[in-house]
Amino acid sequence: MQQEKAVKLQEYRSKEILARHGVPLLAGQIAATPEEARAAAADIGGPVVVKAQVLVGGRGKAGGVKLAATPDEAEQKAREIIGLDIKGTVVKTVLIAPAADIAHEYYLGLILDRASRAITVIASADGGVEIEETAKTNPTAILRLALHPLIGLQEHEVRRVGFFLGIPAGLRQDFAAVLRGLFNAFVSSDADLAEVNPLVVTDDGRLLALDAKIVLDDSALPRHPDLEEMRDLNEEAPSEIAAREAGISFIKLDGSIGCMVNGAGLAMTTMDLVKLAGGEPANFLDIGGGAKADRVAAAFKIILDDPNVKAILINIFGGITRGDEVARGIVEARSQLTRDVPMVVRIVGTNADEAKPILAEAQLITADSLDDAAAKAVAAAGGAA
């Protein structure tokens, strides 16, 4: 579940960072209402593009990007886009950016490639939304270049990418600024991904980043308080924000069996075994190492906020985490719950023997093996789905 920890930034935030590093682009203005969109368009002058600021992919195909010739039209398009539901995300803001006449589109991205253990350039002269299709059907049309992990981006690499893309001779210096800026933005913001798609040459011969996406490394955020503030909490489920604040990893799913587990691998395994026993997990939840009563209570609240949850399976393998502390936390938190559902508790490892009498006294359903716990949870939730 490594990727889940990545923090995606909105297009306008990503562009802010790239602009700071000298990447040429048409920044535009952000608008939360049709009236603001109109004012922004008037301010910019000329035709604009109204772009939904959402973190899910495929917003163009979903009607979230529209051209507007006049401020009137910009207001109208913004009215259509704000409030639009794009793959479950409701659009709250739009970016009003100057429109560009596109002569050619390129794809240019940098990613931390765990397989080659290097920051890797991905480039293609076939830019635009079909780039993944190109990767499958015509892989030679895509350049992958792993950069030296200690030296970074070198001049000859910049040239090589430029020649691969067929950047017009007069724009090679500009291209160097784009790639170098992208690299510097990547490194200085501790990114996992920095992507310009498309990078375009306009009819009047300018090289511009028309769209941008930056994904940050969650682990590095503590040293970037300025970037932490760029995180868009509007697009995170309230339960996921509450979980993060409590030090819990949580992802909501559609099933009926809430899961509370210590460790991501064991949490996924617990979900897999719920499924194997004929049930459907309601969530992924990793309570983290060394969990105590307060975190158990927070986890209960997050799980029970989901009305679909009909039973909870608690699976704790004590290592750092001590079983008796979790058991006491469960009993304590349960007495404060506004909604009660059947709970199956399995605690093994450190201080599991001390946990047993606590659980027995509270008359919780217990299980010794994980398979048994999953089966009991499925039964408690009303049987196999």
Binding site: M1, Q2, Q3, E4, A6, G57, G109, L110, I111, L112, R114, A115, R117, A118, I122, I131, E132, A135, I142, R144, P149, L150, V187, D190, D192, L193, E195, K213, V215, D217, S219, A220, P222, R223, I251, L253, V261, G263, A264, G265, L266, M268, T269, M271, D272, L273, V274, K275, L276, P281, F284, G289, F317, G318, G319, I320, V348, T350, L370, D371
Partner: protein, 292 residues
């Protein structure tokens, strides 16, 4: 025999006076691990763990005075990259980093620098390793193990404990159990550990515990098909996990079709490795493959 650590291991603990470092160092000592030194900058000259272990200011001092030949790191994430580099600079050949939350770009530098120097790094964000009845380094509970013929390697923490416990309950013991860590960039891969188990005469069979994401399991499967003739069983966590929120187009291009539980399972089965539906099925799969 076992791999990586044994009775000759002279362990240093970086961050021995911290809460985690102290708690787990005590457990390591109780298991029988020989902890010869601790390092906490500014606390040199003190004694840790009830007077049993001398503390030094620098790793170089600790190595010079105690002959430490492995280190276990418990320092906070912000200081862990430097701690790993300090250990490598002091010529410690084996570095085990438990710390979680180390920034990936820091790990990129650490990985390549330690590799150039020939330092073996396990982790970060790993539970450590246990050579059963010889030495335990890290945070894996010691009492779940029993000595036996099976080597185990895993990317997870508590899931590793789950599988070790299931094996011990079934009367199937282990040589060494290794958690390599779950971060995007870790020092040692599945293939590295599989190679060690393959060459360890006492390890007769191997268990591999993977999870969704990345392509290390696929690479391991290819390696096993080519090199490993010992019986194997595997488990892949995350069959029901939602597909990872996509990392832009570049992520999709880099990963191709790899990374899903299904692709990993297919790659492993193609290499002749039995894949369990539940951790508790692993001992039986090994028995089916001829392991006593």
């Amino acid at each position: 025999m076992s791999i990586l650590v044994n009775g000759d291991t002279r362990l240093l603990v970086q961050g021995i006076t911290g809460r985690e470092g102290e708690f787990h160092s005590t457990a390591m000592l109780e298991y029988g691990t020989s902890i010869v030194a601790g390092v906490t900058p500014g606390k040199g000259g003190q004694l840790a763990l009830d007077g049993r272990v001398p503390v030094f200011d620098t790793v170089a001092d600790a190595v010079a005075q105690t002959g430490a030949n492995a280190t276990c790191i418990f320092v906070p994430a912000a200081f862990a990259p430097d701690a790993m580099l300090e250990a490598s600079d002091a010529n410690i050949p084996l570095v085990i980093c438990i710390t979680e939350g180390v920034p990936a770009l820091d790990m990129l530098r650490v990985y390549h620098l330690l590799r150039a120097k020939g330092t073996r790094l396990i982790g970060p964000n790993c539970p450590g390793l246990t050579s059963v009845d010889e030495a335990k380094v890290g945070i894996i509970p010691g009492n779940i193990h029993t000595r036996g013929p099976v080597g185990l390697v895993s990317r997870s923490g508590t899931l590793t404990y789950e599988v070790v416990q299931a094996m011990t309950d079934a009367g199937m013991g282990q040589t060494t159990t290794v958690g390599i860590g779950g971060d995007p960039i870790v020092g040692t891969s599945f293939v590295d550990i599989l190679d060690m188990f393959n060459q360890d005469p006492e390890t007769e069979a191997i268990v591999m515990i993977g999870e969704i994401g990345g392509e290390e399991e696929e690479k391991a499967a290819a390696f096993c098909a080519r090199e490993v003739r010992k019986p194997m069983a595997a488990f892949i966590a995350g069959r029901t996990a939602p597909p990872g929120r996509r990392m832009g187009h570049a992520g999709a291009i880099i990963s191709g079709g790899a990374g899903t539980a299904e692709s990993k399972r297919m790659a492993l089965e193609k290499a002749g490795i039995r894949v369990a539906d539940s951790p508790s099925h692993i001992p039986q799969l090994l028995r089916d493959a001829g392991v006593r």
